[in-house]
């Protein structure tokens, strides 16, 4: 007995059947990634706790953030095992947002520059959060 997808072949008997997309991974991987996420979160927190500054701070923050995001998407959201077409369809658009991020960063810098140039002494020392 098949439904419209043609996938659940043995469903009439109430058996799991040849379930194509079932997450039948052993539980261990979830605990390992879970632990890894905790470690990365602690790392992120320590960046602030130890008052790292400047490029080291920003690099560490970004690296920990991207690692955590990558692990959540790949393992918890099962992307690692999905069809490549779906992976690309989902991952590429947010990556393209990086273009918007770059444009906005340029614009923000430019806005700061023009404010400093045209709006007088109050704006002469552009505030940069260290």
């Amino acid at each position: 007995m098949t439904n419209a997808d043609g996938q659940h072949v043995a469903h009439a008997e109430g058996q799991p059947g040849p379930h194509v997309q079932g997450q039948q991974h052993p539980l261990g991987i979830y605990f390992k990634i879970w632990g890894l996420l905790f470690v990365l979160s602690i790392g992120s927190y320590l960046v602030d706790y130890f008052h790292f500054q400047g490029y080291l701070r920003w690099t560490l923050i970004s690296v920990f953030m991207l690692l955590k995001a990558g692990l959540i998407v790949a393992v918890f959201m099962h992307m690692l095992w999905e069809r490549l077409a779906l992976v690309y369809a989902i991952v590429v658009p947010p990556l393209l947002l990086l273009v918007l991020l770059g444009i906005a960063a340029l614009e923000g810098d430019y806005t700061l520059l023009t404010r400093g140039t045209f709006f007088g002494t109050a704006a002469e020392a552009p505030a940069k959060h260290q």
């Binding site: 098949t2 419209a4 997808d5 905790f38 923050i61 989902i90 959060h129």
Partner: protein, 240 residues
Amino acid sequence: MTPPAATTTAGSLPQPEGLQSIVADLSSDQRAFKNVPWGKPMMWIFLVSDTFIFGSFLISYMTVRMSTTVPWPNPSEVFSLTLFGKTVPLLLIAIMTFVLISSSGTMALAVNFGYRRDRAKTVLFLLLTAALGETFVGMQAFEWTKLILEGVRPWANPWGAAQFGSSFFMITGFHGTHVTIGVIFLVIVAIKVLRGDLDKERPGFLTGRKGNYEIVEIMGLYWHFVDLVWVFIFAFFYLW
């Protein structure tokens, strides 16, 4: 009206690998994303749109913060708690992060147990996820209360650039709303699992389609997305 039994194109054509599989999936008059139950790509597409929403918030926050001539409030100081006379920076935020990551873990377990058709454990982990999510929202509400009492408004705050308040409330407000909606849906899915709706493939309230354990995974996708957004907010707003 019963839909005609569709043949799976997955079986009839040889499947290329790698990048060619992307072309093969998307080309010609056929269903893309073969062997993927339709609910999953739909949730993913919704999540991509939600990514754009939060992306636009975070990118505009970045633009505003980069171009402010008034110093931005220091998040370590703003979001610190004083415990036993000692000021601990970002303590509440760290706890919130751990809570949400734990909820992601319990959600992954719930999905796994759902596919094993272990109803009791699925319900347990779904409700545990909901409880952790609600705890997160409670802590966020406490954070909001504390800041509002200290004088943070969308148009001004005692510490620095005026845009801090509006950025904070907008970004965390949208995120907290998403978490709350997720909690509600988690409870709904948990009730469906508990009642055995998924084993009996009973149609849902809003649909004529049969329920099955994929909805637990689809719910999981939404919940992991909520955690994902928090990872970015935590890094960009609180830590940076």
